[in-house]
Amino acid sequence: MIFRRYNTSVLAVVALGLLLIYYYIRQPLILSPFGAKILANQGTTLALAALAQLVVVLTGGVDLSVGAVVSLSNCIAATYMGSHPASVIAVCVLTLAVGAGAGLLNGVLVAYGRIQPIIVTLATLYIFSGLALMVRPQPGGLVPPFYANALTGGWGYLPYALVALFVVLFAVWTPLMRSRLGTAIRAVGDNPGGAHMSGINVPRTLILAYVMGGVFAAAAGLYLTAQTTSGDAAIGTSYTLNSVAAVVFGGALLGGGRGVAPGPVIAAYFLSIIISVLFAAGISPFYQSVFQGGILMVVLVFGNLWTLRTRNWLTILKN
């Protein structure tokens, strides 16, 4: 039962497992407290960005503004955080609120503007990147060491990054997805007409999904701020497409309605760690991105080979 629910994530789990085994062979030191810490830190920002993308993808949309919201929240956090614990907490809350606001704008335009999500979020991508540049025209800013340490440090072999991620997953994501809202999001993504006929408020569901996405993207920005201890308006660009890749790799359907959190989160770690593995394997920098894409493609193809065993193509097309 549990396996069936999460079987879309199996591919990412197997791929990450193999990658880590290979990494360990090339670099045994990853099995040390420091190694565990950097492995965990490396993927957490993308994992949070993947959650932001996943909630929107579940509604059948796609959010191209994820990277811009990551940049914007990174700039806000690094610029205004200060050093007093109270101001740190206040700025974190403010940053998440800005993320929610960004998501609200996306959601309203998608739900009531009746514009394709890809166009809406492409437009807001420019707006949010512009705002990030206004907040921080030049890279800089500062965060207190205790903030950075609380998110990127570790206690023995236990990296705080994983603790933070598990808190988000089990205290925020799971309850939300198990609530009526979570069911409604999946229903809207699977079949908006059917959802409407069943009495689900489709626009409201869409808006809330985008707001959640904005908050998760802002959380990713907050994490990135702890990792880089500074703000840079151009820093988030790579998270948009990588978050989409993580979501697809993690077994969610771009068409909406299907997808569970573990897959994209684990896929995010895979995508983030692969560049270090390529470096450890001594691949020339010119070809690293070719290998990165190639490996991703091979993994996806192998993962989907099983579908060819089916007797009827209709079942494949329906999935």
């Binding site: 670099q27 030191l29 990853i30 420091f34 190694g35 950097i38 830190n41 490396q42 920002t45 993308l46 030049q138 890279p139 800089g140 800013g141 950075a148 990127t152 990135l224 990792q227 880089t228 201890t229 500074s230 703000g231 840079d232 151009a234 820093i235 660009t237 790579s238 983030s272 760690i273 560049i275 270090s276 470096f279 450890a280 001594g282 020339s284 920098p285 010119f286 690293q288 991105s289």
Partner: protein
């Protein structure tokens, strides 16, 4: 109290180093042939000496590059590789690794973490963000790894900075032009990409000179350091009918010269960057030229600085490297311009004052 002791110890060490310079130069050939003072020039009077613990060689050194995909970066990596293969240098280097992360800060953080794990002695860095890598640099330094940043330098003083002074570059161009025009005249100013640090610094340097001469008038256009764009905007400026007595240009200079040629005008004195096409045209058509460029050998210099510091050399935390300069008198085919190579090739592949001398054909053969 502790700090005071530290300073005293450092003071003693520097004094000793000064006194024993001749003895030391035998022990440290890398520093000696640079003529020490000339090559490792402190940025300004406020520059402190970089404190680092001496370590026994040979060393493991990693080059962490960000963007890859223009001629300059490719040459930079090729020269760095060629440098580590030189017999005198190879003795000190156990292993040399290169990695490029693209303009992606988190990828470069991951890459540097990997270098920390690999237990390198020094990381030589062309950063994707001036600030985004500061925390991973802290970690590297805590792990006993020396970080030397060059070209796109970082803001943390825990790393050594190696770069050319962009302000001085703009200033030198301007001073030369003022002399050529006899303190008066119309100067066409071709700027780079608006809003970037390099463009602002070079322009400030230029203005610091121009404003001293009331007879000098300037007209500004933005050429974006690109031959095509520069040619277009200069052609527009010429079409307005203004006569320009000189050109101060930050880049895209091959295009600037072509614009003058297409308008059928005699090329006035031009001070600009160091693209191969620009220097080749200057050598062929013999118009007055001053060419100063950002050297792709800065990466190799970063390695040299890293090795010198690891060996116990007392170097400044911020190092200003000499500006590779060429004028009509010093232009020499096959040395600082190459008619058979692409226009986009960056010519200042050697930094003579630092003992870094390379050959273009050999560099281009090296696999990146």
């Amino acid at each position: 109290m502790g700090e005071e002791n530290m300073q005293r110890r450092d003071f003693l060490r520097t004094t000793l180093a000064g006194a024993g310079a001749i003895a030391l130069s035998d022990a440290l050939p890398g520093i000696a042939n640079a003529g020490a003072g000339q090559c490792f020039t402190p940025w300004d009077k406020g520059t402190e000496t970089f404190a680092w613990k001496m370590k026994k060689g040979p060393y493991k050194i990693a080059l962490s590059n960000s963007y890859i995909g223009n001629m300059w970066r490719t040459e930079m990596i090729q020269i760095a590789k060629a440098y580590t293969e030189e017999p005198a240098v190879k003795r000190d280097i156990k292993q040399f690794m290169v990695s490029s992360a693209g303009n992606d800060v988190s990828a470069q953080i991951a890459q540097m973490n990997q270098m920390i794990l690999a237990g390198v002695d020094a990381i030589v860095l062309d950063a994707a963000s001036p600030t985004g890598l500061n925390s991973v640099i802290d970690q590297a330094v805590a792990a006993g790894i020396l970080v030397v940043s060059f070209d796109n330098v970082v803001t943390t003083k825990k790393a050594v900075w190696v770069n050319q002074n962009q302000f001085e570059m703009g200033q030198k161009w301007a001073e030369w032009l003022v002399r050529k025009t006899g303190d008066k005249g119309n100067i066409l100013v071709v700027r780079g990409v608006a809003g970037t640090f390099v463009d602002q610094e070079r322009m400030k340097g230029g203005e610091s000179v121009f404003k001293k001469y009331p007879g000098i008038k300037t007209t500004e256009v933005y050429g974006k350091w690109d031959d095509g764009t520069a040619q277009k905007v200069v052609a527009n400026a010429l079409a307005s009918g203004t006569k320009f007595d000189a050109v101060w240009s930050e880049g895209g200079d091959t295009g600037v010269v072509r614009a003058f040629q297409q308008a059928g005008l005699k090329m006035p004195p031009i001070a600009g960057e160091a693209e191969n096409g620009f220097r080749t045209l200057a050598a062929k058509d013999k118009f007055p030229v001053l060419s100063i460029g950002q050297s792709p050998a800065l990466g190799a210099l970063g390695i040299k600085v890293a090795v010198a510091i690891l060996k116990g050399g007392k170097l400044p935390q911020s190092i200003s490297t000499p500006l590779p300069t060429a004028t009509n008198a010093t232009l020499k085919q096959g040395v600082n311009y190459f008619p058979n190579l692409p226009d986009s090739f960056f010519t200042p592949i050697s930094i003579g004052a630092c003992g870094l001398n390379f050959k273009a054909d050999k560099i281009l053969k090296i696999k990146v």
